[in-house]
Amino acid sequence: MDQKSAGLNITIFFCQQIDPDQDTNRRALEKELGKRIRFFPLPCSGRIDPLHLMGALESGADKVYLVTCPEGACRYQEGNLRARKRIAYTQGLIEEIGLERERLELIITPAGNPVTVDELARGLLAREALIGPSPIRG
């Protein structure tokens, strides 16, 4: 069963440099899925803070993605490298409370193959649901 059919709540933090029209492109999906999908554009994926990721999980997200631009293509040099470290740090924190580290995932967009944020999100929703609803959701 894919993640959309499984009814998972998905939160996507993403570097807005990957899709200049992200504001428009994500509207249809937001309208279709309502609160089940939440997008958070970041000026750079390096802006992510473990507090954002924890906040998303605490607010009921079953799966949280952090989408970065391709490696070596960060407009701010090293933002996507920091993003990777922060995901890893936060995965350690959620493991301490018994959550699977897979609830947080880093997605690096491929170089030379630009995607819009809605295409990317639909691709993620179509992935097989390897985890169930979060126990935090209640």
Partner: protein, 222 residues
């Protein structure tokens, strides 16, 4: 700066287990600089505790608050209006902060969320290194501002030991030899003459052996 690291969550949970209303209190000074007890870390711990309780179907109430300093009464006093609403205070201050808060509110159980580790400096983003043992008898003026007691693995006042290899300490090759640094710096300053002085063993009575130390300045008193 005083550095600290967060305790494992299991240890924190054990200490707060009997309580339902928990106030997590951060400190905006040293432990914020070393990313263990500032506003962000206080938020992270609060969030982790709430999620942990929810996933184990336990009802607790966790709120966060960060003081500019946990070791000064004027800042601790900001807890006065709220502390009665909680069963326990989980402090992300250093050991001094925890004790200072407990001293102001002796009837409230104050428990530490951090292990206080050392006095050190921020070397680079995410790296803190011990540089002072607070011995109470500073001799940095003789040693080109490199503390041999703290930074030499053997704590030699009259070094070097002769065991360093390519400027690195023989005890830990990741650490620069403190005595190599001392000699190089004194050479650059043209003050190698300072090495002629033979230093007697450190007077540790100024650091320990008489209970807690205190500094009292009459001119600063009210």
């Amino acid at each position: 700066m005083i550095t600290a690291e967060r305790k494992p969550l299991s240890e924190i949970k054990e200490m707060i287990a009997p309580y339902r209303k928990i106030l997590v209190v951060g400190c905006g000074s040293c432990v914020a600089e070393c990313a263990s007890g500032g506003e962000k870390e206080t938020g992270l711990l609060g969030s982790a505790l709430r999620m942990d309780a929810k996933s184990s179907k336990k009802e607790i109430e966790v709120k966060e608050m960060t003081l500019d300093r946990q070791c000064v009464y004027e800042f601790i006093n900001q807890l006065t209006d709220v502390i009665d609403q909680y069963d326990v205070v989980l402090s992300l201050g250093c050991g001094a902060g925890v004790q200072a808060v407990a001293g102001v509110f002796p009837k409230v159980h104050i428990v530490p969320a951090l292990n206080t580790t050392f006095i050190g400096e921020t070397k680079e983003a995410g790296l803190w290194v011990e540089s002072c043992r607070a011995c109470g008898d500073c001799k940095l003026g003789f040693f080109a501002a490199v503390c041999p007691v703290t930074r030499c693995a053997k704590g030699l006042f009259n070094g070097p030991c002769g065991g360093s290899r390519t400027d690195r300490c023989e005890v830990d090759p990741d650490v620069p030899c403190a005595w190599q640094l001392i000699v190089s710096r004194l050479e650059e300053m043209g003050r190698l003459d300072l090495l002629r002085k033979v230093h007697p063993p450190a007077d540790w009575s100024k650091q320990q052996g008489k209970g807690p130390r205190k500094i009292h300045r009459e001119d600063q008193s009210t």
